[in-house]
C-alpha cells in the first residue's frame, strides 16, 4: 500500500497543520485563554498516516490526546479553538471544551473516561456490518488505556464478529508520568491480538510511510470484510502529559525522541524524493501559520454563548 505523490504531499501538509495547531493551542493555554488544559499530541502525528486514508463515510474513535485526529478528518482549526475558548462558534457551542465532536467530519464525540471508545468503535462497526456497507472504523487507544477492561472486551467482540475495525494502539511509552512497564506486562501491545486470533503488528509510529502502508493493508482487509487488525504504533509524546504539567521523564530520552520526529522524517523523505523543496516547505509552514493566526482571531472574536443556552441540547 504505497501512497501517491499527491497523497504523500497531502499527508505532509496535514501533519504540518496539526503541529501548527498544537503549538498555537499550547500558546493559548499558557496565555490563559483556555479555561481547561490540553493534552498535546506533538510527536504523535505519525498516526495521521493511518487516519488520512479514511473515506468521509468511514468512522473513527480517538483519544484524549492531541488534535491530529480531528485535523486529519477535516475539522477546522478555527472552530476547534473556538470550542476550547468556550465560544458559541465552537464545534460543541462551548459545551464540550476538550470533548469535541464534529459530526459533519466524522468526529463523533470524545469520552472523558479513557477506554470508553473501544466499545463505541464496536458499535459503529456493527452498524456498518448490519447495513452491509464497506466502511471501516479506525479506533485509537493509548498504551495506558489498554489496561481498561473495555479495551479487551471490545477486541474480543471485534474478532468474534469479524468487524471492520482497525485498532491502533498509540504506544507512547507512558500514561501520565508512569512508564508502561508499571502498568502492563505486554511487551508489545500487539501481543494482545494473538489472544483474540487477529493479526497484530508493532511498527515505528514515527515513520509515516510505514504507518501508511501497514494501516492501508489493515483498512483494505477490514473493507473486504476480513475482520479487525491491531496495529501498535511505537511513538512518543514530546510534551508533558498535559500542557503545564510537570514532565518527570528523562530529558535525554525526550531529546532522543525529538530526533525521531515524524514530520521531520517525512519531510526528509519527500525532499529526497524531490517532492518537496525548501521553498515549498516554507510556504506550507507559512500557510499553516496564517491559518492558525486566523483561527485565533476567529476564536477571540467569537461571542460566548448566552447563559440560557445551558438549558438547550439535552434531548433531541
Amino acid at each position: 500500500m504505497k501512497p501517491s505523490t499527491e497523497q504523500m504531499l497531502g499527508l505532509y501538509k496535514m501533519m504540518v497543520r496539526s503541529r501548527a495547531f498544537e503549538e498555537m493551542v499550547a500558546e493559548q493555554v499558557q496565555k490563559g485563554h483556555v479555561p481547561c488544559s490540553w493534552m498535546s499530541g506533538i510527536g504523535q502525528e505519525g498516526t495521521m498516516a493511518a487516519l488520512c486514508q479514511l473515506r468521509s463515510d468511514d468512522h473513527m474513535t480517538y483519544t484524549h490526546r492531541g488534535a491530529y485526529s480531528f485535523i486529519s478528518r477535516g475539522s477546522e482549526p478555527s472552530r476547534l479553538l473556538a470550542e476550547l475558548f468556550g465560544k458559541s462558534t465552537g464545534y460543541c457551542k462551548g459545551k464540550g471544551g476538550r470533548h469535541i465532536a464534529d459530526l459533519e467530519h466524522g468526529v463523533m464525540g470524545k469520552s472523558g473516561a479513557i477506554g470508553s471508545h473501544a466499545p463505541i468503535a464496536v458499535g459503529m462497526a456493527t452498524a456498518i456490518q448490519i447495513r452491509g456497507g464497506d466502511q471501516v472504523v479506525i479506533s485509537l487507544f493509548g498504551d495506558g488505556t489498554s489496561n481498561r477492561g473495555t479495551t479487551h472486551s471490545a477486541l474480543n467482540t471485534s474478532a468474534l464478529w469479524k468487524l471492520p475495525i482497525v485498532w491502533i494502539c498509540e504506544n507512547n511509552g507512558y500514561a501520565g508520568a508512569i512508564p508502561s512497564a508499571d502498568f502492563t506486562t505486554f511487551k508489545a501491545a500487539s501481543d494482545m491480538a494473538a489472544a483474540y486470533g487477529i493479526p497484530g503488528i508493532s511498527i515505528d509510529g514515527n515513520d509515516p510511510l510505514t504507518v501508511y502502508a501497514v494501516a492501508g493493508e489493515a483498512i483494505t482487509r477490514a473493507r473486504k470484510g476480513a475482520g479487525p487488525t491491531l496495529i501498535e504504533l511505537k511513538t512518543y509524546r514530546v510534551g508533558a502529559f498535559a500542557i503545564g504539567a510537570k514532565d518527570l521523564r528523562d530529558p535525554e530520552e525526550i531529546m532522543a525522541w525529538k530526533q525521531r520526529d515524524p514530520i521531520e522524517r517525512l519531510r526528509r523523505q519527500l525532499l529526497e524524493m524531490d517532492l518537496l523543496s525548501e521553498q515549498l516547505i516554507a510556504s506550507i509552514d507559512q500557510e499553516a501559520r496564517i491559518e492558525m493566526d486566523s483561527a485565533v482571531r476567529f476564536a477571540e472574536e467569537s461571542p460566548f454563548p448566552n447563559p440560557e443556552d445551558a438549558y438547550q441540547d439535552l434531548y433531541a
Binding site: T61, E104, P119, I120, G123, T126, G149, S153, L160
Partner: protein, 327 residues
C-alpha cells in the same frame, strides 16, 4: 383487541419496530437461545443473528457499543437482563448515552436513540444482587428517559415510543409483571411519554406508585374502600418525562400523598416526587408526604426477610392511614 401478556406485548413491539425500521437491532447476552415466551423470544429466528445479536458477556461492551451504533445512525436496543447487571455499565449509560448529546452541543443533530431494557424487582428470592429496582440512580442522572410500564397496553405502546424516540430510554420491566394479561389493539399505536394514568379515582389520599407497586397500591385502595377511605392511585408510566401536573392536580384535591416505589427510598423516586409536590402544593397539604419503599437495605434472600424489606399492600395501607391521622 386481543389479550396478551406484558412480556408478549413488549415482544410484539420489538418485532413490529424491527419490521418497520431496518435500523433497529437488538443485542444482549444469550439472545440466540432465549425462551420463546421471553421478552425477546422468537426474534432471533425471525431476524437472524445480525439484527438479534448474541453479545459477549460484558455489559460495558453491550451498552457502549449501542452508543457507537447510535452515533452511526442505528437504533440499538440493549437487552441487559437484570438491572443489577447493568451497574457494570453505568459509565456507558450515564456518562455516554445520557450526556454526550448535551456535552457535544447537539452538533447539528447528534442523536442517541438507544433503548436499554432492564428487568427489575424483588419478591423472587434473588437476594441483594439479583433483586434491585434501581430506578432512582437513573432519575438522578440527566439525559435519560425512564419508562416503567404496568399493563400490556402501555408496555407495547411505550416500547414503540421508546424505540422511535431520538434519545436514550431506560425501559424497566418488573419480574412479576411479565405475566400480567391485558387487552392490546391489533393495530399500530403509541403511548406517549410523560402522561400519567389515574388507575383508580379517589378523594381522600393520592398514591403515586411505580411499576409492580401499582398493583399493590390498587389492592391497598380496594381494602381501604371497605373502610370508606377513598384512594386515588396514579401510575406515572414514565418518570422522565414526569407528568407532575396530574399528580399535583390530584394532591390539590386530596391534600395527602403517599409515593410507593420498590427501590431504596433515600434519594429515590419518592423523595423526588414528594419534594416537588411539597414545592407546588405546600399550602394544600394536610399532612406530610409519606413514602413506602425499601428502607435502604440490600434486598435479603429469605422470604421472611424479603417481605420485611419490600413494600406490600398492607404497608401501603398503613401509610395511607398515617397520612389521614398524622401523629
Amino acid at each position: 383487541m386481543k389479550k396478551i401478556t406484558l412480556t408478549r406485548a413488549v415482544n410484539e413491539a420489538l418485532r413490529e419496530e424491527m419490521q418497520r425500521d431496518p435500523n433497529v437491532y437488538i443485542q444482549g447476552i444469550g439472545l440466540r437461545a432465549v425462551a420463546p415466551n421471553s421478552l425477546t423470544g422468537g426474534l432471533h429466528d425471525e431476524f437472524g443473528s445480525q439484527r438479534v445479536r448474541t453479545a459477549p458477556m460484558d455489559e460495558p461492551l453491550i451498552a457502549g457499543s449501542c452508543v457507537g451504533a447510535a452515533l452511526a445512525g442505528m437504533r440499538p436496543v440493549a437487552e441487559l437482563h437484570l438491572a443489577d447487571f447493568a451497574f457494570c455499565a453505568l459509565d456507558e449509560i450515564i456518562s455516554k448515552a445520557g450526556k454526550w448529546r448535551y456535552m457535544h452541543g447537539a452538533n447539528n443533530g447528534m442523536m442517541l436513540p438507544i433503548v436499554f431494557m432492564q428487568t427489575i424487582g424483588g419478591y423472587v428470592g434473588g437476594a441483594a444482587e439479583h433483586s434491585q429496582s434501581p430506578v432512582g440512580f437513573y432519575m438522578h442522572a440527566p439525559g435519560l428517559k425512564i419508562v416503567v410500564p404496568t399493563t400490556p397496553y402501555d408496555a407495547k405502546g411505550l416500547m414503540k415510543s421508546a424505540i422511535r424516540d431520538d434519545n436514550p430510554v431506560l425501559f424497566f420491566t418488573h419480574k412479576l409483571l411479565g405475566g400480567t394479561e391485558g387487552e392490546v389493539p391489533e393495530d399500530d399505536y403509541l403511548v406517549p411519554f410523560g402522561k400519567a394514568e389515574v388507575r383508580r379515582a379517589g378523594n381522600d389520599v393520592t398514591v403515586v406508585a411505580t411499576s409492580y407497586m401499582v398493583s399493590l397500591a390498587l389492592n391497598a385502595a380496594q381494602s381501604l374502600a371497605e373502610e370508606d377511605v377513598s384512594v386515588e392511585v396514579i401510575d406515572p408510566r414514565t418518570l422522565e418525562p414526569l407528568d407532575l401536573d396530574t399528580i399535583v392536580q390530584s394532591v390539590r384535591r386530596t391534600g395527602r400523598l403517599v409515593v410507593v416505589d420498590e427501590d431504596t427510598m433515600r434519594c429515590g423516586v419518592g423523595a423526588e416526587i414528594g419534594f416537588q409536590v411539597m414545592e407546588r402544593c405546600f399550602s394544600d397539604m394536610k399532612s406530610p408526604v409519606l413514602r413506602v419503599g425499601n428502607p435502604d437495605l440490600p434486598v435479603p434472600y429469605s422470604p421472611v426477610l424479603e417481605k420485611a424489606v419490600l413494600p406490600s399492600s398492607s404497608k401501603i395501607q398503613a401509610a395511607i392511614l398515617r397520612t389521614l391521622n398524622p401523629s
